[in-house]
């Protein structure tokens, strides 16, 4: 009986600890969401009643609208380019053997490991020298450099499960190497491609430091938020925060849906 009790207590302690942890992480975000619908100008208790005015206010702010549009553009571009490049890098790593493969893979994998401040500064110094500083495309290029390594990791993992016989089998059945890539490898990787598309978009959408360093006058949404905070305390912050939060969480959830990592589910094994 004692053992049962101990198990129960241990389980209770585990759940308690987890709840505290998640509470610690989630509460600040929840506060932002709650107060974004508050009629009061300053987040105070008691709540001043439900209101959409701050959400409306961010819609009316041309700078925020512009920053939002910039973020969407950069995010979409990053998602497309990172997925394409990530697939190419993963496929090269999967299919071919060559001498400089290790440096090649490291080159793709390393950017996220570099502290963002250093990466941002380096990018700034490099880009201003070659005259590409302060353009939206530049922000996108920097985001692609970071997001591609995530994309490659996801797609490479999927390719691990691609039977080595599948591509030769396609050739054997009359598919040219290009046709085999399109009709066998790509469909097989589809879940990973979708996942890396959304994850890359999320990486770009959330990224602040590099966008701040190299964007110049072109602000993305996170940059706009910081600039807004540096001015005065503005209730619009909560509304923007809520929008950013919803979009980021949605992107990551979609990505997760396709990588197959979901709670309580294992990938079904091949076979009966």
């Amino acid at each position: 009986m004692n053992r049962v009790l101990a198990t129960r207590l241990s389980r209770l302690a585990q759940y308690g600890f987890l709840s505290l942890l998640f509470g610690f992480i989630a509460t600040p975000m929840l506060v932002i969401v709650v107060f974004s619908f508050d009629a009061n100008r300053f987040p105070t208790i008691p709540w001043g009643g439900f209101s959409l005015q701050w959400h409306r206010a961010i819609l009316d702010d041309p700078m925020i609208r512009n920053a939002f549009l910039n973020s969407m553009l950069v995010g979409l571009g990053t998602a497309v380019l990172s997925t394409v490049l990530g697939f190419a890098a993963a496929y090269i790593d999967f299919r071919y053997r060559f001498r400089l493969k290790l440096p090649f893979v490291l080159l793709v994998a390393v950017p996220p490991a570099v502290p963002a401040t250093i990466l941002g500064m380096a990018m700034l110094a490099f880009l201003s020298r070659i005259g590409l500083f302060g353009r939206l495309e530049t922000v996108m290029a920097c985001h692609v450099a970071i997001a591609t390594s995530f994309a490659m990791a996801i797609i490479r993992l999927r390719l691990n499960d691609l039977s080595r016989d599948l591509e030769p089998a396609a050739w054997n059945l009359g598919a040219s190497p290009a046709a085999a890539l399109i009709h066998v490898v790509l469909p097989f990787c589809k879940p990973a491609l979708v996942a890396s598309f959304f994850l890359s978009a999320a990486v770009s959408f959330d990224e602040f430091l590099i966008a701040w360093f190299v964007g110049g006058v072109h602000e993305t949404l996170p940059v706009r938020i910081l600039n807004l905070l540096q001015g005065q305390v503005n209730p619009k912050i909560n509304a923007i925060g809520t929008v950013v939060l919803v979009i980021s969480v949605a992107l990551v959830l979609i990505a997760q849906r396709f990588t197959g990592v979901r709670a309580g589910r294992r990938p079904t094994p091949e076979g009966e």
Binding site: S163, D165, L166, P168, A169, A170, W171, N172, L173, G174, A175, S176, P177, A179, H183, V184, P187, F188, K190, T268, E270, G271, E272
Partner: protein, 360 residues
């Protein structure tokens, strides 16, 4: 002379660390069912991959229907293969898998679906067309792989150990199925296997390979009864190899002295006194008796092989013989381990191994 449908001419394949196929020559006739056998690593699968164009030979040439395959990529050969791993496309349905080769040939959607369904029907899978591969049993997947390989109506089908993943019962059923398909289609089957039972049940001719060389090519019964060398004799499993030396000859039989006794063996070619006289005697040709004339030995143990049993007998002098007997014979002789027996056989049934380099 009739030109062979598939000709391997001095075919050679060297990998950086391994010489897989060593200058082999082989002619395969149109419509033939040929089995390539050998232990793992003997080069049989590499040979098949070379025919399919999945590997580039490092020497020699392959001709199919008289045309050299040099420089012809795999996807232009129409030499479909049934893979050991089956290599079905997991993201396609059964019908889409079977239709894949047609899709690659740019056959229209309606037409390719119709033809895929015809083949599924032919292999008894009509009701499975819309299923996912993961929902099929091992035997059903096997059939999908065969249907997919045959849907373009090729003139040759390559099979790489296709039945090795199936259980014994299914394997026999699939053998029957393959045999039927071969008879109905009349196309060439090249079948790689390490299982003697499959090769014997299916093939018109058997190719025995070892260490990249072809050891023997012949009809199953010839390879079994008249192995070309000690490797083939031992690979066939149910042969007893006796090493000896030629002492002389009389009445068309050679006198041979071995480590365990003196024997008489039919001479297939003149052989001088003092030369090597290794011969084989098949396990099912040996008679066992409690006493009388014959080679004395002791029963070591028994092993069931279907309705027959293999009796392992140790001969005085150390050699081990295998003798195949029906259950009732074993009971009649009360063959238990430790029992003394006499082995004898009709000298005509012994097979003298040719000397190296000697042709039959």
């Amino acid at each position: 002379m009739k030109t062979p449908f598939i000709a391997l001419d001095q075919l050679d394949k060297r990998y950086p660390d391994h010489h897989a196929v060593k200058s082999i020559d082989l002619d395969i006739d149109a419509g033939e069912f040929i089995a390539i056998m050998g232990p793992s690593g003997c080069g049989k699968s590499t040979t098949l991959r070379l025919i399919a164009g999945l590997d580039e030979p490092t020497g020699g040439e392959i001709r199919i229907g008289g045309d050299s395959m040099r420089g012809v990529p795999a996807f232009q050969r129409n030499t479909p293969m049934v893979w050991q791993s089956l290599a079905l496309f997991p993201f396609l349905t059964v019908a889409e898998n079977v239709a894949f080769p047609l899709r690659m040939q740019k056959v229209g959607a309606a037409e390719r679906r119709k033809r895929a369904l015809e083949w599924l029907d032919r292999l008894g899978l009509a009701s499975m067309a819309e299923r996912n591969i993961a929902q099929l049993s091992g035997g059903q997947r096997q059939r999908v792989a065969i249907a997919r390989a045959l849907v373009t109506e090729p003139s040759v089908l390559l099979l790489d150990e296709p039945l090795s993943a199936l259980d014994a019962h299914l394997r026999v059923r699939m053998q029957t199925e393959l045999s039927r398909l071969h008879r109905e289609l009349g196309i060439t089957f090249v079948y790689v296997t390490h299982a003697q039972s499959e090769a014997f049940a299916l093939a018109d001719r058997i190719v025995i390979m070892s260490e990249g060389h072809i050891q023997q090519v012949g009809r199953p019964q010839d390879v079994y009864r008249a192995p070309a060398n000690a490797f083939v004799a031992e690979f066939m499993g149910m042969n007893n190899l006796v090493r000896g030396e030629v002492r002389g000859s009389r009445d068309g039989l050679l006198d041979i002295t071995g480590a365990v006794g003196d024997f008489r063996v039919p001479a297939t070619a003149a052989r001088p006194q003092g030369s090597r006289g290794d011969f084989v005697i098949a396990a099912d040709r040996i008679a066992l008796a409690a006493d009388g004339e014959g080679l004395p030995g002791t029963v070591l143990g028994l092993e069931f092989v279907g309705s027959t049993q293999t009796v392992f007998v140790e001969i005085e002098g150390g050699a081990e013989f295998r003798v195949q007997k029906q259950q009732h014979e074993i009971e009649a002789l009360n063959l238990v381990p430790g029992r003394k027996v006499k082995l004898s056989w009709n000298p005509e049934h012994a097979w003298l191994l040719p000397l190296p380099g000697q042709m039959h």
